[in-house]
Symmetry: C2
Subunit: 577 residues, 2 copies
C-alpha cells in the first residue's frame, strides 16, 4: 500500500475520506477498551483510535513505542469540545493496522530528548534525529541548500567541486593529513577551504563559481566547533566590492524568503570595522538591539580620576537598573575579555551614586546627557587602550542582552555588513605585520600609497563580513590581481620572493597568466542555518556531528586500524612517550 499523504498534509479537506498513513508509534494509550495511538512521520503526528471490535485491534494491541506501522482508516474531526487547533482537531478511526517492523525499547524517551545527556543523544543519533525539532532543523537546512542552488544557478554561477585530497600548506590552521599509498612517504591534506582553487577558477575564466564545500581544520575543538564544516563558497570575476555585496544581499534575502517566509529589508546596513568596534565592541555586532557605547574620553582626559585621565579611550554603556550581583557578574565578563575591572555608577535623580561616583561628580551633567541613562539605571565604563576597552565592553553588552533579553524587542533577524577591515594587523608575538584575512586580499586602491610607510596599519582592505544576529555568517574580499600590488603586500608582511614562492608556489605562477579582477565570499553554512533555525549549537543542524574530542560516538570513529592497513599506506603509529 502507498500512503495517501504525509500526516502533516492532512486537514479539513480530508475529513470523511479513507487515509493510509505510515510512520512510527509515538505513544500508545489504552483507555476504556480503546487503543489510542499517536502516529508520527516527519511532517507531524495524529491520533489514531482503534476500537476493540475493529479488524485493526489485534495488530494494534501488539504495538509499542517506535514500532513502524501502516494505518488505514477514516479521517474525521474530533468532537467540538476537544479541539485545540491544528492536527489535534482530527483523528483517524483505524480500519486496518499493519505492523511493518518492531522496535526495541529506545534508550531514552524521544519526547524528553532535550534533557538527555548529549553523549547519549549522539550515540543513538538515529533516534535523536527522530525528534520533530531535529527533523525540522535538517529540513530547514535542506531547503536552504535548494534555495541557494536555485538562486546562484539562475544568476549564472557555475557549481564546481574542488579537490578534497590536496596539498598541505604551512599557512593557516593545522591540516588533516592523508597518507598516499601510491606515493609512499607523501601525504595529501584535506582542504581548509577552496580559497586557491576558486581563485584559479577565476583565472580559468569561469567568471562565477559557487560550491557548498566541506572544509577541514584540525584545531582543538573549543565550544561550538567541528573538525569539518560546510562553507557556501562563491567567487566572481570583473567585479567590485559593491557588485559582490549586491548579489549577496539578494541571495540572503532569497534564502530567507524561500525558507522562512521572512523578508529581510534591503540593502543591509553597513558599518566600517572601526564603527562596529567603536560603537559595539565587536566586529560582528548583534544589531537586533541598538544599545551602543558613548564616548566620554574627552570628559575625563587629564582630569583628576587617574584611571581615566590618561586612557586612550573611555566608553560608557547605559544599562538598566542592576543589582550588585549582576554588576559583579558583568565585571567577571569584562575581566574574561581583557579588562582589569568594570567601573560603574548608578543614577539617582540627576547625580550618581555607588561605584566610582565620587570621581564623576564634575562630569555628571555631561554623562547624563550623552548616555541618556534612565533614573535608577547604571552606567558601565571601560577605559584604556581603544581595542581592549571596546572589546571588553562589547562582551558586557552581550551579557546585558542575555540578562534583559534585549534582542527580543528587535527584528527576529538583523543582517549587516562590516566593511573596511584593516589590511594588516600587528602581531605582538612576532613583532611583525601580518595579514588579517589572507595575503591575497586587495587593499583599497586609495590606501596603496601607505604600503611601506609608518601608516601601514591604516590601510583598509576591500574585505567584508556578513553579520547576522551577532554571528559572522560570511566573510570575503576583493582579491589582488595586480602582481605589483601583490609584491607590495608580500613585502609588508615580510615575505621574501623566495618565501612567497615556497608557500604559494603554483598559485603565484597562475596569477601571471592573465588574471581578471575578482573577489568572493564564503558563508559559514552551518552557522547560518543554526541562526535561521534558532538552534543553540551547530551540532543541532549537522546530522552526525563529532563531540569535542572529535569523536563520532555512534560510528565510533576514529578507531585503531589493522597494522596491515597502516603498512599499506606507509606509516606506523608513533610510540607514546
Amino acid at each position: 500500500m502507498k500512503r495517501t499523504s504525509y500526516i502533516g498534509e492532512l486537514g479539513q479537506a480530508q475529513v470523511g475520506t479513507t487515509v493510509t498513513l505510515q510512520g512510527w508509534v509515538n505513544r500508545r494509550r489504552d483507555l476504556g477498551g480503546l487503543i489510542f495511538l499517536e502516529l508520527r512521520d516527519r511532517s507531524g503526528t495524529v491520533q489514531v483510535q482503534v476500537e476493540p471490535d475493529s479488524a485493526a485491534f489485534a495488530a494494534a494491541d501488539t504495538l509499542r513505542a517506535e514500532y513502524v506501522v501502516e494505518v488505514e482508516g477514516r479521517f474525521q474531526a474530533r468532537p467540538e469540545g476537544q479541539r485545540k487547533g491544528g492536527l489535534a482537531d482530527f483523528e483517524v478511526i483505524a480500519s486496518r493496522v499493519t505492523v511493518l517492523n518492531a522496535a526495541r525499547t529506545p534508550p531514552f524517551e524521544l519526547e524528553k530528548g532535550e534533557q538527555v545527556a548529549e553523549d547519549i543523544r549522539l550515540k543513538y543519533r538515529y533516534l535523536d534525529l527522530r525528534r520533530p525539532e531535529m527533523q525540522r532543523q535538517l529540513m530547514l537546512r535542506s531547503k536552504a541548500v535548494a534555495a541557494v542552488t536555485a538562486f546562484l544557478d539562475a544568476e549564472g554561477f557555475v557549481q564546481v567541486e574542488t579537490p578534497m585530497l590536496t596539498k598541505s600548506t604551512p599557512e593557516g590552521a593545522r591540516d588533516f593529513l592523508v597518507p598516499s599509498r601510491l606515493n609512499p612517504g607523501e601525504f595529501y591534506a584535506l582542504p581548509q577551504s577552496p580559497q586557491l582553487f576558486k581563485q584559479l577558477l577565476m583565472i580559468s575564466g569561469l567568471d562565477r563559481y559557487y560550491q557548498l564545500a566541506r572544509c577541514f581544520r584540525d584545531e582543538d575543538l573549543r565550544a561550538d566547533r567541528q573538525p569539518d564544516f560546510t562553507q557556501l563558497d562563491m567567487e566572481m570575476s570583473f567585479v567590485t566590492q559593491e557588485d559582490v555585496l549586491e548579489v549577496q544581499e539578494r541571495l540572503m534575502a532569497h534564502v530567507f524568503r524561500v525558507v522562512l517566509d521572512t523578508e529581510l529589508p534591503l540593502p543591509f546596513p553597513r558599518l566600517s570595522y572601526h564603527e562596529a568596534m567603536d560603537r559595539y565592541g565587536s566586529d560582528k555586532p548583534d544589531l537586533r538591539f541598538d544599545l551602543r557605547f558613548v564616548d566620554v574620553t574627552d570628559l575625563f582626559r587629564g582630569g583628576e580620576f587617574a584611571a581615566f585621565a590618561g586612557a586612550e579611550t573611555v566608553k560608557v554603556l547605559a544599562a538598566p537598573e542592576l543589582t550588585r550581583k549582576q554588576i559583579d557578574e558583568l565585571e567577571r565578563v569584562a575581566k574574561q575579555n581583557g579588562a582589569k575591572g568594570l567601573a560603574w555608577v548608578r543614577r539617582e535623580g540627576d547625580s550618581f551614586t555607588g561605584g566610582i561616583s565620587k570621581f564623576v561628580g564634575g562630569q555628571a551633567a555631561a554623562l547624563l546627557e550623552r548616555s541618556g541613562v534612565q533614573p535608577g539605571g547604571t552606567l558601565l565604563f571601560a577605559a584604556g587602550d581603544w581595542k581592549k576597552a571596546v572589546t571588553a565592553l562589547g562582551a558586557v553588552r552581550l551579557a546585558l542582552r542575555d540578562l534583559f533579553n534585549l534582542a527580543a524587542d528587535g527584528p527576529q533577524f538583523h543582517a549587516a555588513w562590516v566593511l573596511d577591515f584593516p589590511q594588516l594587523e600587528w602581531d605582538e608575538d612576532s613583532g611583525t605585520w601580518t595579514y588579517m584575512h589572507h595575503p591575497f586580499t586587495a587593499p583599497h586602491p586609495e590606501d596603496i600609497p601607505l604600503f611601506g610607510t609608518d601608516r601601514q596599519g591604516e590601510i583598509r582592505a576591500q574585505a567584508y563580513d556578513l553579520v547576522l544576529n551577532g554571528y559572522e555568517v560570511g566573510g570575503g574580499s576583493i582579491r589582488i590581481h595586480d602582481p605589483a600590488v601583490q609584491a607590495q603586500m608580500f613585502q609588508a608582511i615580510g615575505f621574501s620572493e623566495a618565501e612567497a614562492q615556497e608557500k604559494f608556489g603554483f598559485f603565484l605562477d597562475a596569477l601571471e597568466y592573465g588574471t581578471p579582477p575578482h573577489g568572493g565570499i564564503a558563508w559559514g553554512f552551518d552557522r547560518l542555518v543554526m541562526v535561521m533555525a534558532g538552534a543553540g549549537s551547530i551540532r543541532e543542524v549537522i546530522a552526525f556531528p563529532k563531540n569535542n574530542r572529535g569523536v563520532d560516538l555512534m560510528a565510533q570513529a576514529p578507531s585503531p586500524v589493522e597494522d596491515a592497513q597502516l603498512a599499506e599506506v606507509g606509516v606506523v603509529v608513533r610510540d607514546q612517550e
Copy 2:
C-alpha cells in the same frame, strides 16, 4: 565599468548599440594597419576591430594572447559576404580598450589543447580550463547539479551531509586513512559511500534523502578512475522497487530536459540481468544499437563439432563483412575477455566459407535463418560456459560498435534498467557464497525460501542498475529491514552473528529500533555527466582531477610534509624496504 552582457548573449538585438565586454584575448591579428582581436569569455568569442586612428589603438597595440581586457565599442553586423552564422556574423568596432591584466605566454596554445599531452594540461589546468570545450563541460555539470537539486527538493527529498571523517570498515575497497591528533593512534577513514548513513537517516524517519556525496576509494587507478568521485546518493522509505524506479526515471528525464533539451522516452525499457547477459553479454549493455546474440546451442549439441557439442552455450553474432585483419582484432578482444578464441564463418550465397565453415554445413540453413546474416557478412561464435561465453562475445559486440560506428544510427541517449541481479555470487577463490551488491540488499520475497537450499544461486535481489549508452550510471536496491531475513542473508554468506556484529556493529543495533522498509540508489555523477557531455573520460568533467598515480600535477599533491606535522598527528613514515 560593468559589462553590458556576456559575449554569447550578443546578437541581432544589440546591433547598433554600444557594448562593453570583458574577457581574454583569444587571438590578435594585425592587417592593413588594423588590429583584429578575438575576445573570449566563457560564453563565446567575438571579433573586435581596432582602427589605427581610434582612441583604443594604443592600448590594443600592447595586447598579446591571454591578456585580460575590457572593450567598449559599437556592435555591428559584418558585411554580407563575410557572414557564416552565429557570432561570426558580428563584430565590435572598438572605441576603448583597457588592459585589465597582462599575461605571460601560455605554455601551450589553448586552441590546440586537445593535442597537448595530458600531463601538461593537468599541470596548467587553470589554462586548460579556459578552453571552450572544458568550460562547456563544467557548465553542463553545474546545470545538472541544479536540475537534480530542484527536482529532488520539489519531490520532498531532504539534502543531508553525511560524515567525511568516519570509521574504517574492513569491507569493500581500501580506505583512505586520516590520523587523529586528538586521539593518538586512532584513525578516521574517508567514506567509501554514505551507504550506512543514508540507511540510518531512514531509520531516523527522514523519509527521503539525497546528497551529492564525495566518495573515496584507495584503489589502483586503472584507466578512468579517480581516488575520489561524486555520487548522487538517494534513499526513500516505505517504498517498493517500482516506486524507486518511477521517481528515478522522472528525475533522469528532468535532468536531460533541463540540461540538454532532450526528451528521454519514459518508461525506460527493462531487462533482467539474465536477459542483458544472454542477449548482449553485459550487465550494462549499450542499447543504442540492438545487435544481439542468437542462441544456437541446440543446433550443435551432441553434434560432430566437438568444440560446440558439449558447450553449455553457443551464441552467435551476425557482423557485417569483415576483413581477415578485423577478425584477428576481434579475436584478440574475445581472448582478452576470457575466450579461448573466436570462431567465425562468412556467408556466401546460402552457405558459409572460411573459419569453421567445414563444421557448420549441416546447420547452415538454421544459422542463416536465425542470425539473419547478410550476404558477405560474418558470423562470430562464442561457446562454452554461459557467463564466460556471453561476456567475451559482449566485448566483441562493443568492438564491432566502435569499428562500424553502430551506435550512430540509434538514439543519442538510450537509458534502460537492468533488474533481478543474483542475490549471491559464488566466489571461486574462497569457495563460498558472497553478496553481489552489499549484504543489506533485499531479496525478492518469493525467492526467500531458496536461502539455505542448493538453489541459493537463483535468489534474485531487489537490485537495479540504471544503464545509459553502455555505462552503468546508477545502481541501488531495496534494503533488508526484517531482522529474520538479515539473519538468513548473513548465514548464506557464512557470517556468524559475532562476525556480523564485528563488521557492522552499531548499524545492526540501529536496525532493531524501528526500521521502515526502504531502498535507494546512487548515481555515478561524474560518469553520468561524462556521457551527457559526450566526453571521453571523467577527467574531462572534473575541474582538478588526479592523474593515474593519484597525483594533482598542478598543486603537487600529495607531497612530503614536515616531521613536526607528522609528530603532531602521531605517525611516522615507515622505512622503505
